[in-house]
């Protein structure tokens, strides 16, 4: 939508085969985007967005890493909680993070103890923000009770669902919050080692998190004795290799273990048999960051925001045909209409055609769903999903069949290949969609395309 085709043509005419088209770089708030590798004995990787062919050429020849314009976390209003430090605190400085309330939650966690931390998280009714909406307190409690040792904490920062960019913005603009939250998770569940698995297309996030870990170690907030508690906890970074499937938690474990990134059969669940076969807490970045405010506010007080079934606020990734694409923190239960309005509405007075909720693996809804509350229960009632918080807006000019064909191609490319319904089914879906005449509908809409879909739903 944002001129990516033109950018690719410009780049190809300049650099030839060195240009590789990517289905997603996690930059939907500021496309078109380019992930650049400056080769050499010490290769450097960085993302530029939005970018032109001229800027790519300049970045490739420059001696330093080009600065990336900070976008996102815009127009959050007075209710901003998760994003309150963004564009306010210096994301590269531990001192600045502390000045803006950082590491108070860890102090509180140490003061009240592991069991009370889990009790607060449970009382807050925090549900996972990665897409599956599993109660975080129950996950932590299950791991804490497992007698097998060691325990692990894994932060899933693979964020590979197209349309999602919330965790990238969190990591780039508030990396200490991510580190503090993982540390609390480790102390609460009896883990001494944590891993953060960062999406391969996020070099800026990796730099920010690596810098934060280094400073936290130097300050005694990570290491053999965390903040004088006598408890050890440290975090290692693992970088993804560009596989969508590695955002699935058990495929992610396999990837960290050095194995092929394929999901494992569940049960057994990660709380019993996770990373290296040990009890493991695995949480999404946004989920973990919520824990900080839960401890500071108290679980009960925190759960007063949002709805009965969906406590708290959520980060929504607004992109597509909205005036100001970006990351918006919105209280659970506000309507879809409100969210689109916060992003400035649809430009040029055009009418809404559809919204893709929850990412490529999510659901399309029409204009009739505008009053749907953005809560887990609201989405479920509308047979939709909030997934990872994607709200991709398509106005009346968009070719939805083309979008559907692109999504099918994406899943065809990203299937890990382990199971038949997905390995072959995604190929048949893509073929059925790509073989059609422009402007026409799906061939054989009755069975050809829907049957593999139903088998996918039955398989995982």
């Amino acid at each position: 939508m944002n001129g990516a085709d033109q950018l690719c043509r410009d780049l190809e005419s300049r650099f030839g085969h060195a240009v590789h088209r990517s289905p997603c770089l996690g930059q939907c708030d500021r496309g078109s985007a380019a992930l650049i590798t400056r080769a050499g004995s010490d290769p450097e990787r960085f993302v530029l967005a939005p970018v032109s062919a001229d800027e790519v050429a300049k970045a490739l020849s420059a001696g330093t890493v080009p600065t990336v314009p900070r976008v996102g976390a815009s127009a959050n209003g007075a209710g901003a909680k998760i994003v309150r430090r963004m564009n306010v605190a210096d994301a590269t400085s531990l001192a600045s993070y502390r000045q803006h309330g950082g590491y108070q939650a860890l102090a509180k966690a140490i003061e009240i103890g592991a069991a009370a931390v889990i009790a607060e998280v449970s009382a807050a009714r925090l549900l996972g923000r990665g897409g599956a909406a599993f109660p975080t307190g129950r996950k932590w409690d299950a791991v804490a009770r497992e007698p097998a040792r060691p325990h692990y904490v894994v932060c899933n920062a693979d964020e590979s669902e197209p349309g999602t960019f919330k965790d990238r913005v969190l990591m780039e603009q508030d990396p200490f919050a991510v580190i503090e939250a993982i540390t609390i998770g480790g102390l609460a569940t009896g883990a001494e080692r944590g891993f953060i698995y960062i999406r391969g297309e996020y070099p800026e996030s990796e730099r920010a998190i690596a810098g934060a870990i280094q400073q936290a170690r130097a300050a005694g907030l990570l290491g053999v004795d965390v903040s004088g508690t006598g408890q050890a906890f440290d975090i290692e970074i693992r970088r993804g290799g560009g596989a969508y499937i590695c955002g699935e938690e058990t495929a992610l474990f396999n990837s960290i273990e050095g194995k092929r990134g394929e999901p494992r059969s569940k049960p057994p669940f990660p709380a019993q048999f996770g990373l290296f076969g040990k009890p493991t807490v695995v949480n999404n970045v946004e989920t973990l960051v919520n824990v900080l405010d839960i401890l500071i506010d108290g679980g009960d007080a925190w759960s007063k925001t949002g709805t009965a079934g969906s406590a708290g606020t959520r980060l929504f990734c607004l992109s597509g045909h909205v005036v100001t694409p970006g990351l918006y923190e919105i209280e659970c239960g506000q309507t879809l209409r409100h969210a689109i309005g916060v992003a400035g509405g649809i430009p040029n007075g055009r009418a809404l055609q559809a919204v893709l909720l929850g990412g490529a693996a999510g659901t399309f809804v029409g204009p009739d769903a505008l009053d749907m509350p953005l809560s887990f229960e609201g989405a479920r009632a509308a047979n939709a999903t909030l997934g990872s918080g994607v709200i991709m807006v398509f106005d009346e000019t968009a070719d939805l069949m083309d979008t559907l064909a692109r999504i099918a191609q994406f899943f065809r490319d990203e299937s890990c290949g382990q199971c038949v319904p997905c390995r072959v089914g995604t190929v048949r879906q893509a073929e059925l969609l790509q073989g059609r005449d422009p402007g026409s509908g799906i061939r054989d809409p009755g069975s050809g395309i829907r049957d593999p879909g139903s088998a996918h739903h039955s398989a995982r």
Binding site: G417, V420, P421, L432, D444, S454, S458
Partner: protein, 310 residues
């Protein structure tokens, strides 16, 4: 320092043969399958439980001697209260489970798996699959009917890999069940000559860096051939006879014997056609070898077929 004569005495013979240590009785787990109550030991899988009731669950990537990978999804069953269908081959039983092995959802899922495989893989030498296709009403051709030409339906068709004298690899027949990888790896041979490479539809079984077999870690035990459910891996004599249209299993005499090569004494099942040994297999239910052989047992029969004048 003492200068006592060093002597050795046998221990006195035991008056009684010591009893083996007591094995705790297994904890039995009750569940219901197709309306019938059954109790199986904890840790058993749904397919184990189905077997005790003589309920037939179709499988493709499953084998008793290998760790289940639940990749083919033919064995899926419906577990009451679960969001998704469960692969019977790997799902452990839980007390109170209510399982349906046939339902519209199960049948649709099985039919689709068979259609997806049938439309992308050459299943002509896969025993039992045509019966399964018929039972579930699978029509692999229907994709071609919708898409128009055969070339618009992607398949894994490719030339047969013939790079050694003992067996061929026809990956146009591969359903990617992972059995060969498991047999080559920790489930049997621990040779690790092959693994799954690539992803999605391009996922395939590969030697390291896709080198020919003679350059790989392969030790030609042929245990991968034994577990292959589709004939993608085939010993050369069988492959050549099939090519010549002379493979006639119905005329073959099948005889169990003991491997003559070493003291392990593996059971060999010798398949003889026209007075020639054409294939050697080994029974999977043998408690010691579980169907595995080595290169000598599986391939070292040529000398029997030779006369002195050869």
């Amino acid at each position: 320092m003492s200068h006592d004569e060093i002597s050795f005495h046998l221990p006195p013979p035991a008056a009684l043969i010591p009893a083996p240590p007591a094995v705790a009785a297994p904890v039995m787990v009750p569940l219901t399958i197709d309306g019938r109550a059954v109790e199986v030991p904890a840790g058993a899988t749904l397919i184990d439980a189905c077997k005790t009731l003589d309920i037939d669950v179709p499988t493709l990537c499953y084998l008793e001697t290998l760790t289940p990978v639940n990749a083919c999804r033919v064995c899926v069953v419906e577990v009451e209260g679960a969001r998704v269908l469960a692969p019977a081959c790997s799902r452990a039983v839980e007390a109170g489970m209510v399982v349906k092995t046939r339902s519209p959802r199960v049948d649709l899922s099985r039919k689709l798996v068979l259609e997806l495989l049938g439309s992308s893989v050459d299943l002509s030498t896969a025993p039992g699959l045509s019966g399964m296709m018929h039972e579930y009403g699978a029509r692999p051709d229907r994709f071609q009917e919708v898409l128009g030409s055969p070339s618009s339906v992607s398949s894994v068709a490719q030339p047969v890999k013939i790079d050694n004298h003992l067996y061929v690899r026809d990956y146009g027949k591969c359903v990617l069940c992972y059995k060969c990888v498991e047999a080559c790896g920790t489930d049997a041979q621990n040779t690790f000559a092959i693994a799954v490479a690539g992803r999605g539809f391009a996922a395939h079984i590969s030697t390291e860096l896709d080198v020919p077999l003679p350059d790989s870690a392969c030790v030609y035990c042929g245990n991968c051939i034994a577990v292959c459910p589709t004939g993608a891996l085939m010993a050369t004599p069988e492959f050549e006879l099939r090519q010549a249209g002379q493979w006639r299993p119905e005329t073959q005499a099948v005889t169990d014997t003991i491997c003559p090569y070493c003291g392990v004494g593996c059971t060999l099942t010798v398949h003889v056609q026209d007075q020639q040994i054409v294939k050697v297999t080994s029974p999977f239910d043998n408690a010691v070898t579980r169907g595995n052989l080595c290169v000598k047992g599986r391939f070292g029969f040529e000398y029997v077929n030779r006369t002195q004048s050869d």
